[in-house]
């Protein structure tokens, strides 16, 4: 009898705890929703700008190969326009992660030209993130040799693929 009563107490207690959790979840959801709504009403314009900028961090491509081809073309064009020489584009697709491909760029040039190229890269291609830069200077040579490791962030766009 005692056991029965206490089992009943325990069950009703557990049921109440479950109910309290449910109510708390609903209240949390409700609170989040209301705050989101308020936030959206006040910052809709800023949110869209932020999201737009964030979306520029990845490039929508129809296929990875096409994306890499376009990137190589853009990078080389920029480099050559700034007087950088012996530009090599080495994509390391075997080390690719999800939506991300490491690429190694090798070129020769002056510090100034390299710096300008990096400026242009950051401005025109936000989908490229610089990992590291190795600079070697031969005492006899006038120019430095640069090895730049970058991450190319892409997003396979199915809609565009279908088109």
């Amino acid at each position: 009898m005692v056991g029965l009563v206490w089992v009943g107490v325990l069950m009703i207690d557990l049921w109440n705890i479950e109910k309290i959790d449910q109510i708390r979840d609903i209240r949390t959801q409700r609170e989040i929703f209301l705050r989101d709504q308020q936030f959206w009403n006040n910052n809709a314009k800023n949110i869209s700008q932020i999201l737009q900028r964030y979306s520029s961090f990845t490039q929508n491509v129809e296929s990875l190969k096409l994306g890499l081809l376009q990137l190589e073309n853009d990078l080389k064009a920029n480099a050559l326009s700034l007087g950088l020489k012996e530009v090599k584009f080495i994509s390391q697709t075997e080390m690719a992660g999800e939506g991300r491909v490491p690429i190694k760029l090798v070129f020769n040039g002056t510090f100034k030209a390299a710096s300008q190229w990096l400026d242009k890269l950051q401005e025109d291609l936000p989908c490229v993130g610089i990992q590291n830069i190795k600079v070697s200077l031969d005492p006899l040579a006038e120019q430095a040799k640069f090895q730049v490791s970058i991450n190319y962030r892409y997003n396979l766009s199915l809609a565009e693929s279908a088109v």
């Binding site: 409700r30 009403n41 600079v135």
Partner: protein, 554 residues
């Protein structure tokens, strides 16, 4: 004709035929208006009832009797023409074994008793007794007390130094097992109390049920769910009753005589503990009272001798309760020693006047002495005792559980109503967000983190420019690795051309000062952060080359 003659050979008394008993009221010639027992001597009336009512067929069954006072003691006789007692207080069922018969009596807190049923032990001691052996009105009731004859209880005293009950119980159980190897059930029916002799000697007084009839009776009572909660005998009840009144009762040997009209009961106590008793049938009105006193005195002297053998001491005081006021003086003269009158113990008790005309199992004890709250030595089946001990805990557990259940139930109702009042976000009306908008807000946090990370990161081209600006003219970079993501920093290897160590030192100071100026917001660089060595392979013209190497954490 004695009523037993009618009772013998009967089988069953149909309780439902209560109307039959109305005849008793109609019988003329009965005396007394309170508790009227039909004495065995009034045989014509019994015969009349037996013939007209056909009541007694096999076993002895009693007409439900209602008495204002006193217990059944004369339940072997029937009560006739007594008004039914209306119990306004809680009724307790007790059972009494006397003269090979089991009686069931109802008592209440006002000291009223009502004998409800009796059955011969012989009729009860059958294997698998039929369900109607005990009437349904009694079955499954709480049997608060079972009073057994004194001789059903045994007692022993053991020297035992410890005062731990558990140790004493184990000790007594072992002793009883040795003493009564044929009664394995005895281990469930014993108890003990501690007492001290001669200031230093510690003893345990063990009392136990020893009569084989009890071990037949108890399972049958349990079979009908009438397991007694307490088991005692009249001697133990008197022991407590006298002890409460007479403080010196607990020391030395004491005798107690209970003089009933047809019976004398002798009880002997040592150090306040019951030792043995004697039951002496008396001749009643047929002989002179002095003959009864002689008989009592004779038996008393015999018992005193037995007592002195058992207790190794003499009885120092004798007490008496009697139905006759002069008994104390008369018996004292016959016995030649003082007897202390304890009639005041029973004065005012209605038991006296009833027992004065009848003899019985518990003599002058009144129903109020047998109520559940009364304190006297008693036994209980050890398993049942444990169950009863745990009952308050169980009750408390149930009570607390039910209170909690009730409170939690209220909480459940409140929560249920509350949960209905709180609407889910989807169901909130008005200018609510669309799914896309909600999704964009979810993405917003992620986007913001990514953008902030990007902004916080030092721009590599800026780092390159600042490094170039920081280098003094005579410092030439040989190799430089700039990490921007996982562990941002610059590893630089270069060469410094200096005229002498002082010049080299000055160059390093300039380099450090420039770096600290250009890269602010990080740990200040010191000379110890730069490792260097002299370049031994260079041609010795135009100064000395020093190879430097350092890491600059960003």
């Amino acid at each position: 004709m004695p009523i037993r003659g009618f009772i013998k050979g009967t089988d069953k008394f149909p309780i439902q035929k209560c109307a039959i008993f109305c005849k008793f009221k109609e019988i003329k010639g009965l005396r007394g208006g309170v508790l009227l027992y039909a004495a065995q001597a009034i045989s014509p009336i019994d015969a009349e009832i037996a013939e007209k009512g056909h009541l007694w067929t096999e076993t002895r069954y009693l007409v439900p009797v209602y008495g204002r006072t006193g217990l059944l003691f004369s339940l072997r006789n029937r009560i006739l023409d007594t008004p039914k007692m209306k119990f306004t207080h809680q009724n307790y069922l007790i059972s009494i074994v006397d003269d090979e018969t089991l009686y069931f009596v109802e008592i209440n807190s006002r000291g009223e008793s009502n004998a409800v049923y009796s059955i011969a032990l012989e009729a009860l001691f059958v294997s698998d007794p039929p369900a109607d052996t005990i009437p349904a009105s009694i079955r499954d009731r709480k049997n608060t007390l079972l009073i057994v004859p004194d001789y059903w209880l045994g007692n022993s005293s053991y020297k035992f130094q410890s005062r731990k009950k558990s140790l004493a119980d184990a000790f007594v159980a072992r002793k009883l097992h040795e003493q009564f190897p044929d009664q394995p059930e005895i281990k469930y029916f014993f108890d003990g109390t501690f007492y001290q002799r001669e200031q230093t000697e510690k003893w345990v007084y063990a009392y136990f049920l020893q009569d084989p009839q009890f071990f037949q009776l108890h399972p049958q009572l349990a079979h009908f769910n009438l397991q007694p909660h307490r088991i005692t005998c009249p001697a133990l009840i008197w022991q407590q009753k006298i002890r409460q009144e007479i403080p010196e009762f607990d020391s030395g040997g004491k005798g107690f005589v209970q003089l009933l009209p047809k019976m004398g009961l002798l009880y002997f106590f040592f150090e306040g503990n019951f030792l043995f008793s004697r039951k002496i049938p008396l001749a009643g009105a047929q002989l002179q009272p002095s003959d009864n006193y002689d008989a009592i005195a004779y038996e008393l002297n015999q018992s005193l001798y037995l007592f002195s053998q058992k207790a190794k001491t003499e009885i120092d005081k004798l007490y008496l309760v009697s139905h006759e006021a002069e008994s104390g003086r008369a018996l004292s003269e016959v016995l030649g020693r003082e007897i202390h009158d304890l009639n005041y113990l029973i004065n005012g008790s209605n038991a006296l006047q009833n027992s004065a005309t009848e003899t019985g199992a518990i003599g002058f004890l009144s129903p109020s002495d047998l109520l559940p709250g009364k304190s006297f030595l008693s036994l209980c089946h050890r398993v049942l005792k444990k169950e009863l001990e745990w009952k308050p805990v169980q009750f408390a557990g149930i009570a607390v559980g039910l209170i909690l259940f009730f409170l939690l139930g209220i909480e459940t109702i409140v929560l249920h109503k509350w949960s209905h009042q709180i609407q889910l976000p989807r169901s909130i009306g008005g200018n609510s967000l669309t799914v896309e908008e909600s999704h964009e807000i979810q993405q917003y946090n992620e986007a913001l983190d990514a953008i902030l990370n990007e902004l916080e990161r030092r721009s590599p081209q800026e780092v390159l420019r600042k490094i170039a600006q920081s280098l003094p003219p005579n410092v030439r970079i040989q190799e430089m690795v700039l990490e921007t993501e996982d562990n941002p920093g610059v590893d630089l290897k270069g060469a410094v051309r200096a005229d002498d160590p002082e010049h080299f030192k000055a160059c390093l100071s300039t380099l450090i000062a420039n770096i600290n100026e250009n890269f602010q917001g990080r740990r200040m660089m010191t000379a110890s952060d730069i490792d260097f060595e002299v370049n031994q392979n260079q041609p010795s013209q135009g100064g000395q080359d020093y190879l430097i190497n350092f890491r600059l954490d960003l």
